[in-house]
Symmetry: C2
Subunit: 430 residues, 2 copies
């Protein structure tokens, strides 16, 4: 495996300090200048195509030599088309409206002061990710547009490509006189460097880990810096007594089969007992036609005898493949209890035409995205209208759900007055 | 010092688990029912006046026996008037509009789905505080109105009063059939219990420490739960070349002298050199008339020779008394550099009539509250229109600046559709 020479802790810290210094410049760049940099980044990726693909070849050969699984190698591979998508993503970020400097509506207080809130960058975003080299440019572009510097620690598998991509991005920063430390790629991929990075809360404001559950747990347990994360998506489709069953069919097939390996795919179908005699056999037939294995509780098995039994483990499982758990419930409340027990606060769907049931589900289900009569697969930054997604949060602090540019900012209070004081100022003798 | 019998770690955890269970109920209470509970809490505080004041007497005697400083005893003491203020604060919280369930404007996406965001509670708020028993009811009221359960760990000095107050609050919860675990007071005040509490990230969603810097550092360094905090307020008043000096006078006196011990009081005055010949002597005279000691740099001393010299320590100091540092700067940028070096991201003020200078300062100074021609003393949840304040954050994640009810909530995405799928669903043979 390719590995840089060991970097001392001292130099990880000094890199982070420089990145934090650069963040002050990025915070105050005009929108026009940021957009020019983003366009230039896209151009540079394509200009550097040969060296990036060469570097990626080195990574892929190393990964094959190390016997990495084919699924990981697929995430690692770059080609002309993938590079064009990365460039296009940067141009898309340039087209997004700039959150920085946006003022909320102001209120005039009884004291006379006018109070508003202005969106400002967070500072330095630390990204910790694994094999996908496209994250290097995707994350850099989003963080930069939101006025932040980014401190990138990619996986060792993608070491050479990440560096070639960072070189291209730096060319774009330098062309617009922006401190290249605004996009810092940590030059070492050993775990000690990550551990050191996670102590630098004086320089790094937020850490977003992207990768397997092991990586995320390690980051969350080690970090002195706030971490935004999600572990998994155990998403449910609840088909209510008052459901339109044609809609249920569509959401079931789209949610389970359009891309089973992603976190907003369905894992469990809950069916109200009033429609179970009709819908359980219908859903099983439909799923099986689509190649999906069904595991059901006793009530499902009573209606479709050859269904495999579902266990507690099935209800908690994020299958990420063509398997689904199925259960019959006696009410919407029981469905919600099941979701509260086994769900992952990610994405939950109800199919119903009954307004009070829909409103109650939307209001009380604790998930970052709750959908009524729409597919779980819409739980995505782009589909929800955030533009693009830097990550997703299933914890509630700062952001809950898919995170776009706005989640990379915060708000400060800005107050204008005409000399107001909180208390009357005494007459002065002078 | 009064101290409960040691509680095992097991029971701290089981208390937190019960509190977390109660949070599910509180999250879904109607606004009317929450307001009835809050009114009932206010009544109960007054009904229990005798037992609360008795308990407080026990605490105060213990504190005197232990030789606690008079300033701390002042924070500890309750009396009829203070209890009435606590009750009035609860009634005021009842009058605030309920953030829970508020829907943002919705957007219709090209796919046809309608996307909005709904405010929801955070879950369980852990409060760790010192001598002030009023925090018990203030924090409980705000957390409850925002749909959260609260896990309170008060200081050992206020042990008896905190329990008497909690008894009154529980009576109000029970009268409305709300699980009393929604307001849980940790029955022990030893540090081991705090340490255990700070590991319970499966039950507690957010920790807000209120107290001295030592307590806050301990909590921040120990906690596995996100912490919202501020350490200190080193607030600057910058008098620009284009300042209205009468406004400068008012903001200086209000900011420095109206309540020097609070975090939004002024600590340093920065004066542009173009107005220094006029304003430095005038400010010194004004401050001295108000009993304030001035420590100045060489340029201040050149204009008012008997001013004490200011050192680096003065620029970093949060005096919290009638002392101020004063420095002459050659530009607004130099003032901002000074603020970036010595400020605490809390509250910063500019006095200027020049629009570009005001806009630049408001945009680029990194502080949670930036004021133009208005007193630093307005940096307060009530004054800024938040209703009341649960705390203040000088870190940017989740909340920045004074935090009201809204900062005790987050938003989830709520999507309504009519059967939309992300990908076309294949024709079915069935």
């Amino acid at each position: 495996m390719a590995e840089a020479s060991p970097t001392t802790h001292r130099s990880i810290e000094s890199l982070a300090a420089e990145c934090s210094q650069a963040a002050r410049q990025v915070a105050n760049l005009s929108t026009a200048r940021k957009n020019r940099v983003l366009q230039h980044m896209a151009d540079a990726l394509l200009d550097h195509q040969a060296s990036i693909l060469d570097a990626n070849n080195t990574d892929v050969s190393g990964a094959r030599d190390d016997g990495l699984p084919e699924a990981m190698i697929d995430r690692l591979v770059l080609n002309e088309k993938r590079l064009q998508k990365m460039a296009a993503a940067l141009r898309e970020v340039a087209s997004f409206s700039d959150p920085v400097g946006q003022m909320s509506a102001t209120t005039t207080r009884p004291s006379g002061i006018e109070v508003g809130r202005m969106r400002i960058p967070l500072g330095v975003i630390g990204m910790i990710y694994e094999a996908r080299p496209n994250v290097t440019s995707d994350a850099a572009g989003l963080c930069f547009k939101a006025g932040n510097a980014v401190f990138l620690r990619g996986g060792s598998e993608a070491f050479h490509a990440n560096h070639a991509i960072a070189d291209a991005l730096h060319e774009a920063l330098e062309a617009e006189d922006v401190d290249p430390a605004a996009i810092t790629l940590v030059p070492t991929t050993d775990r000690a460097a990550v551990q050191e990075m996670l102590t630098l809360n004086q320089h790094i404001d937020l850490v977003i880990p992207r990768g397997g559950e092991g990586l995320i747990r390690f980051v969350d347990e080690t970090s002195r810096i706030p971490v935004i994360k999600h572990y998994k998506g155990v998403c449910h489709l609840y088909v209510d007594a008052q459901a339109d069953l044609d809609i249920a069919d569509d959401l079931l097939i789209d949610g389970k089969t359009s891309r089973p390996s992603v976190c907003n795919a369905l894992e469990t179908l809950l069916v109200h007992e009033d429609v179970a005699d009709t819908y359980v056999p219908r859903a099983c037939a439909l799923l099986r036609e689509a190649g999906v294995t069904v595991r059901g509780d006793e009530q499902v098995q009573a209606r479709v005898p050859d269904v495999e039994p579902a266990t507690e483990d099935d209800y908690a499982a994020e299958y990420l493949d063509l398997t689904i758990a199925m259960r019959v419930v006696d009410s919407a409340d029981t469905a919600q209890d099941h979701i509260a027990t086994y769900g992952s606060n990610h994405t939950e769907v109800i199919v119903t035409d009954d307004l009070p049931t829909a409103r109650h589900f939307a209001r009380t289900v604790d998930a970052s995205v709750v959908l009524v009569n729409a597919s779980s697969r819409f739980s995505d930054g782009g589909e929800l209208g955030l533009g693009a997604e830097i990550g997703i949060s299933t914890t509630k602090l700062h952001a809950y759900g898919p995170m776009g540019l706005q989640a990379l900012t915060t708000q400060k209070f800005v107050v204008y007055g005409a000399g107001e004081t909180r208390h009357p100022v005494p007459e002065r003798t002078a």
